[in-house]
């Protein structure tokens, strides 16, 4: 198996690897969107003066942050079909697991973002007759999100790496595709090196982009 580096196996498997990558990217994009929407709601709940809401949101966040992601993916693979009473397939169960899990992290990022906006902004908005929710939606959240774009994207890059965990529910993401080829053709070194290189390049480029953006937001 260590006899000579076989570039050809990589070329031959590019179509299947590309299919895997599409799934990884799709999962990342959808889970991020869902996670940010649900995370924003959770953050607003946590900041609510109504105790049951803030306690419930706090408990949610702490629970998800105390459990390994891989377990959450597993559970939802078994639980979602049970809850819905019909099979949903590994893609949707994994998507739901990621979105709900990520929301706990996004919640904390967004909460800090909202709290960083001076209280005077809400006062000014409310003084003009806007309701609390209008003030949030039109004045506070747009400012908070503009400040948070870099952190949210960084969290997205971490999520992209974490999507490789879907191998536990036999979803063919990029990592799984590489691993399948590696075992089938007995080319472990080539495939795993190539997979590592691809993850590294994407995440490195992503981080670089975020840093560029950060200096622009700060300016």
């Amino acid at each position: 198996m260590f006899g000579g580096f076989d570039y050809d196996v990589i070329l031959r498997s590019l179509p299947i690897l590309w299919q895997g990558m599409q799934l990884s990217l799709l999962l990342t994009g959808l889970a991020m969107s869902g996670g940010i929407v649900w995370g924003t709601l959770l953050a607003l709940m946590r900041l609510s003066a109504f105790a049951p809401l803030s306690v419930a949101a706090g408990a949610y966040v702490n629970c998800f942050r105390s459990v390994p992601l891989i377990l959450v993916i597993f559970w939802f693979y078994f639980l979602v079909p049970l809850a819905l009473g019909r099979p949903v397939g590994p893609f949707y169960s994994a998507l739901i697991a990621f979105a709900l899990f990520e929301a706990a992290y996004y919640c904390e990022i967004i909460r800090a973002g909202i709290q960083s906006i001076p209280r005077g902004q809400v006062l000014a908005a409310e003084a003009s007759g806007l309701t609390y929710w209008q003030a949030m939606r039109l004045v506070v959240l747009p400012q908070a999100f503009r400040n948070m774009v870099p952190i949210l994207l960084t969290q997205g890059i971490i999520l992209f790496q974490d999507t490789s965990l879907v191998y536990v529910v036999a979803l063919k993401d990029f990592m799984t595709a590489a691993s399948v080829v590696a075992n089938r053709d007995g080319r472990l070194v080539e495939m795993y090196l190539f997979a590592a290189l691809v993850y590294f390049l994407i995440c490195f480029a992503g981080s670089y982009g975020v840093r560029r953006l950060q200096t622009r937001v700060a300016a």
Binding site: P118, G120, Q121, L123, A124, A125, E126, A127, S128, G129, L130, T131, Q134, L138, V139, P142, Q143, R146
Partner: protein, 242 residues
């Protein structure tokens, strides 16, 4: 138009407003002064319900502010407020700042709101700054946009909380000029300020507040000529020195 009757407020154990009673009639300009921490901002924020109060009554244009059934957003939309630190929305241009509540509270069309905004920008002398963002405006310009933003709601009264105390000296007058213009047009105004020149020029009455208590409430001439309380005299001597 604005009536406060024995208003009391606590922040925890701190008794910030003690039996404050005050009335502002339609078209009247009342200046409120007093040392820092005496409760001026708190008092003025109680008037439009931005701060809750625990005792007494505040009635604005026949509406009881402290009443649970009162629709506060609706009441606030009819009272303009200007803050010490302007509080313009930094992610919106001057024009958008002035349009926001017109569109979302008064339900004016965008075109209508923009027309009104341009009218007011012209009035405060900032026609050419409609597209500028607050970050690119001087303090005096920002405060004038903030006044235009409040006026855009066609308020029945205006509240000012130290509108010039965050400004560089050379910008104070451009803001005061706008306020003098408003006062002369008959706007009902409650103004927290230490600008005694402004008070002498347009105020009908001056109120002095110290440690949460209204110690003096007098016609402007009488206030400066013969203040009743010793603490008012002391306060005036301090701020009139420079």
């Amino acid at each position: 138009m604005i009536e406060l009757d024995k208003v009391n407020k606590w922040y925890g154990a701190l008794h910030v407003l003690k039996d404050c009673s005050l009335a502002v009639s339609r078209g009247e300009v009342v200046v409120i002064c007093g040392p820092s921490g005496s409760g001026k901002s708190t008092l003025i924020k109680c008037v439009n319900g931005l701060e809750p109060f625990q005792g007494g009554r505040i009635v604005v244009d026949g509406v009881s502010v402290g009443d649970k059934a009162t629709n506060l957003p609706r009441l606030r939309s009819r009272i303009g407020m200007v803050f010490q630190h302007f509080e313009l929305y930094p992610h919106m241009s001057a024009l958008e700042n002035i349009c926001l509540a017109q569109v979302h509270v008064l339900k004016r069309s965008r075109a209508e709101a923009e027309a009104r905004a341009m009218e007011l920008l012209t009035r405060v002398g900032l026609t050419d700054k409609a597209r500028a963002y607050p970050g690119n405006l001087s303090g005096g310009q920002q405060q004038r946009v903030a006044i235009a933003r409040a006026l855009a709601m066609d308020p029945i009264a205006m509240l000012f909380d130290e509108p010039t105390s965050a400004l560089d000296p050379e910008m104070i007058n451009e803001v005061l000029d706008v306020m003098v213009g408003l006062a002369r047009e008959g706007m009902t105004m409650m103004v927290v300020t230490h600008e005694m020149g402004f008070a002498r020029k347009v105020a009908d009455r001056v109120v002095f507040i110290d440690e949460g208590q209204i110690l003096e409430d007098a016609q402007t001439e009488a206030f400066f000529a013969a203040p009743k309380s010793e603490r008012t005299v002391l306060f005036l001597s301090k701020i009139l020195e420079h």
